[in-house]
């Protein structure tokens, strides 16, 4: 290979290696036929995770169900046909037949969204990563010291271990788990497309449509609860950030505020010249990122900071629509 060719190949490799990972859907719908008696069905996808379906099906009762499965088909939807269906484990003695992969409904299909809108950066997830507290670690260390002192004194060591174990568990579970969810409504007035992004750490309830995991790869567990006609789906990936992304149909139908998305508590408007209006102040840096240059933009927040719904709209006339909320 000549010098310039080698340099070009190396540059291409470097570009590939440093390019941010493209968004990847991890919730692919799989159709199942279930026959009771069944209490639990687990679709095992190995290292990619699993889908756990909790339900009560009586003997002879049948149910057709479409559930998300956390596989990673090469090339997206086109690669689904080449995937081996997940292994099925049952509890209850009934039967489960995998009917095959299905398509996301139009209301959930993020592939229909413009690439520019889909590629906008995801919002920062509130709360910090779950980690051991100082008090818990101190108790674990104290238990070790006590156990070390009593390691050859009959029941003293085991008793210290048992007692400390119970105390550590109680202390850890007494913490209120952080379940903060961030919601961002994205709009592109040029194409008229909208999408809603919901993000949370570790666990995200009410998953519909596509699901992204950050960092990419890794395992995800879907927990699907079937209660009568209601089907509730939650995704879990300890230590990771999860984002549910779905198209937002016709937001203009709402009641008040710009685009019918509610009255904004704070808003920031940018002209086509790229300057933010002085009277609005400076918007949060993360909310500004990913906006296309040379077009008007409206950013906003609805609700208090800890439970806010954010708005990020770009396109002709966006700044003027923001004045509706003033």
């Amino acid at each position: 290979m000549s010098g310039p060719s080698a340099a070009r190949a190396l540059a291409a490799l470097v570009l590939l290696a440093t390019r941010p990972a493209a968004e990847e859907n991890r919730a692919w719908p799989l159709a199942l036929s279930l026959r009771g008696p069944l209490e639990e069905v687990v679709l095992d996808c190995g290292e990619e995770g699993r889908t756990r379906i909790e339900l009560v099906l009586l003997p002879g009762e049948t149910l057709e169900l479409v559930v998300p499965v956390p596989v990673r088909p090469p090339g997206g939807a086109a690669g689904l046909a080449r995937l081996v269906p997940p292994a099925v484990e049952l509890r209850g003695g009934g039967a489960a037949v995998v009917q095959g992969w299905t398509l996301l409904s139009p209301a959930e299909d993020w592939a229909s969204l413009p690439p520019g809108l889909r590629a906008r950066p995801r919002p920062p997830v509130p709360g910090s990563a779950l980690r051991a507290g100082a008090a818990e670690l101190a108790l674990v260390a104290l238990a070790f010291v006590l156990g070390w002192g009593g390691r050859r004194k009959g029941v003293l060591g085991p008793a210290a271990g048992l007692g400390a174990g119970a105390a550590v568990l109680a202390l850890t579970l007494a913490r209120a788990p952080e379940r903060a969810v961030v919601t961002l409504l994205e709009g592109d007035l040029g194409s008229g497309a909208w999408m809603a992004v919901r993000g949370a750490r570790d666990t995200l309830e009410g998953v519909a449509g596509a699901l992204e995991r950050r960092p990419a790869g890794g395992a995800i567990e879907f927990r699907v609860r079937v209660e009568g006609a209601a089907v509730r789906t939650a995704a879990r990936a300890p230590g990771a950030e999860l984002f549910a992304v779905r198209p937002l149909a016709d937001p203009e139908r709402g009641a008040a505020g710009p685009f019918g998305l509610g009255v904004l508590d704070a808003s920031w408007r940018r002209g086509a010249d790229g300057r933010w209006r002085a009277e609005d102040g400076e918007p949060p840096a993360w909310l500004q990122s990913g906006l296309p240059a040379g077009v008007e933009a409206l950013l906003g927040r609805r609700g208090p900071l800890e439970a806010a719904v954010w708005l990020r709209v770009a396109g002709p006339g966006a700044a003027d629509r923001g004045e509706e909320s003033d």
Partner: protein, 205 residues
């Protein structure tokens, strides 16, 4: 297990918590089960064969007691992160019992069964784990999954079970933990028998 190895195992089991706390998200292992991470060094080291004269050896009850506080911390964090309580409890019960049985086997072997226990432990725990890993790499290039026979053998292995537990993989409920428990139980039983056999053989008449 000697007191020194118990201290090493304890330090290794607490290390992930300290790394997460001091190093932040850059040192965290996303998607891992913290209870599983605690169990991994204990299952690897609890059954270490003892030396002929082992003044610092811990009774199996003390070894198991050292596991409990970090295991409880890991279990609590797993539950807070959204793991099902039953699944975490099952993982802790199987893992704790594996540690206890491995430590019990080393203790039961005593002086007379020490050599046999050492050979069995070396073959069944670290040796076969290394063999399984090597065969899986050779047997399944590019596919990422081992042949069926190896996969079945791996299901019985305590270290493979611990590895799967640390990765928060599905453990197939009680059946998933039953096979490694059976294997480690047989190891303890063999150690106990090996200790008694020479004593019977040495009896007069």
């Amino acid at each position: 297990m000697s007191s020194g190895w118990a201290a090493v195992a304890w330090a290794l089991s607490v290390l992930p918590f300290l790394a997460e706390r001091l190093g932040g998200e850059s040192l965290a292992i996303p998607g891992a089960s913290r209870a599983g991470l605690v169990l991994l060094p204990w299952i690897a080291l609890a059954g270490l064969p003892r030396r002929s004269a082992a003044p610092g050896a811990l009774p199996w009850t003390a070894t198991t007691a050292f596991v409990l506080p970090p295991l409880a911390l890991g279990a609590g964090l797993d539950i807070l992160a959204g793991a099902a309580r039953g699944e975490v409890l099952g993982r802790c019960l199987v893992g704790g019992t594996l540690v206890a049985l491995l430590a019990l086997g080393a203790e039961l072997a005593g002086e007379a069964g020490r050599r046999l226990h050492a050979v069995l432990w070396l073959v069944l725990v670290p040796g076969s784990a290394a063999l399984l890993a090597a065969l899986a790499w050779i047997g399944a290039p590019g596919t990422g999954s081992p042949p069926v026979l190896l996969a079945e053998l791996a299901c019985c292995h305590p270290l493979v079970w611990a590895h799967r537990a640390a990765r928060a993989e599905p453990l197939l409920g009680a059946a998933g933990g039953l096979r490694p428990l059976l294997l480690v139980g047989l190891l303890a039983l063999a150690a106990n028998l090996a200790r008694r056999l020479p004593a019977r053989a040495g009896r007069p008449g």
